[in-house]
Symmetry: D2
Subunit: 109 residues, 4 copies
């Protein structure tokens, strides 16, 4: 089993031992993921860009990955594959030579 599949299985087991799969429709999983992303961002609120609260970052980032893996599990997605596909797509949208040093969205280049 790959590293990502093992982590996915860890989370599914944790969930199933608590009978929480009944709540885990994909829409609510996506809401939960977005809440964790917001709590992650809260680690930087009212602070300079480099001074996030690292303990909060670790916990909330772990939660973001956890809900991401549970969503991937729901749809039977291969996380490595969707990341590689997206990087390939972005490479064609943002060719290195055009995008160099430019944060503008690709369609505004």
């Amino acid at each position: 089993m790959t590293q990502l599949k093992e982590l996915e299985q860890l989370l599914v087991d944790f969930r199933d031992q608590r009978d929480w799969q009944q709540f885990h429709n994909p829409k609510d999983l996506a809401i939960a993921l977005s809440r964790e992303a917001s709590e992650l961002l809260e680690a930087f609120l009212w602070k300079p860009a480099e001074e996030g609260r690292i303990e909060k970052v670790k916990e909330e980032l772990a939660d973001v990955f956890a809900y991401g893996l549970l969503l991937a599990h729901h749809y039977n997605l291969d996380v490595e594959k969707i990341i590689r596909d997206k990087v390939a797509l972005n490479a064609s949208k943002y060719p290195a030579e055009k995008a160099k040093g430019n944060a503008t969205k690709y369609n505004e280049l």
Copy 2:
């Protein structure tokens, strides 16, 4: 190299080839991650809980993982470790026998 480290390296290389590391302070990475989580959720907007748009789910979930890995890279975090630490913490907060079938937040159990 682990599977997660390889994916992290893929994203760092993509970023560095475009000289985007100058924009990638952790606060803006967290904003970007939260935006992608919101776009993921948009795949379910105005729809029944099981009818997300799967192509959009794939792309936005990949983006969520990508910014998550870039944040982990910034802080030199081991993603597998923070997930396992968080699962261990949650196991103590939500013991399986008490949490069974109950979506209430742990501190309200």
Copy 3:
């Protein structure tokens, strides 16, 4: 009619002329509001704190208010009253003399 009630009515009329009330359950309205808040935040992504894109700020902030008013309408809430109630609650949680110049969350003071 108050200014807020007039704006609420404007939005309800706009919605009803398009038969969109069928999609507007409160959960999806809250998802839509959170998407607009995320698009508002995108006006500041990869930018210094004072350099938001003002045209985007205006449009997305208007959308945030619009979904907020539609949610208030759904629950028949008086927006002025809930704001005044929350300010009164916050005044007791963050007494001016203790909170002065301190962005720490009230429960950590």
Copy 4:
């Protein structure tokens, strides 16, 4: 003074009595607004679409309006005007006869 201007002033006074204006750059205000929108959405997490926790809805919706008014204050925006401008823009993007009963985004009509 209009109703919205009075509420804006109430919030500015509350803030200034605590010397919090130093933290309130527009980027962090937008982060705070997006956090409140996420907490509002949390009132519906793992629940059927009509069964939000109403007390939480009231508090978080009030916070959303509060940060929205503080952002409007920062940019000296007239909230009624930006809402009316956006409704007029949407009326041209989603003509009632074409959009009737259709939740598809305007550019996909």
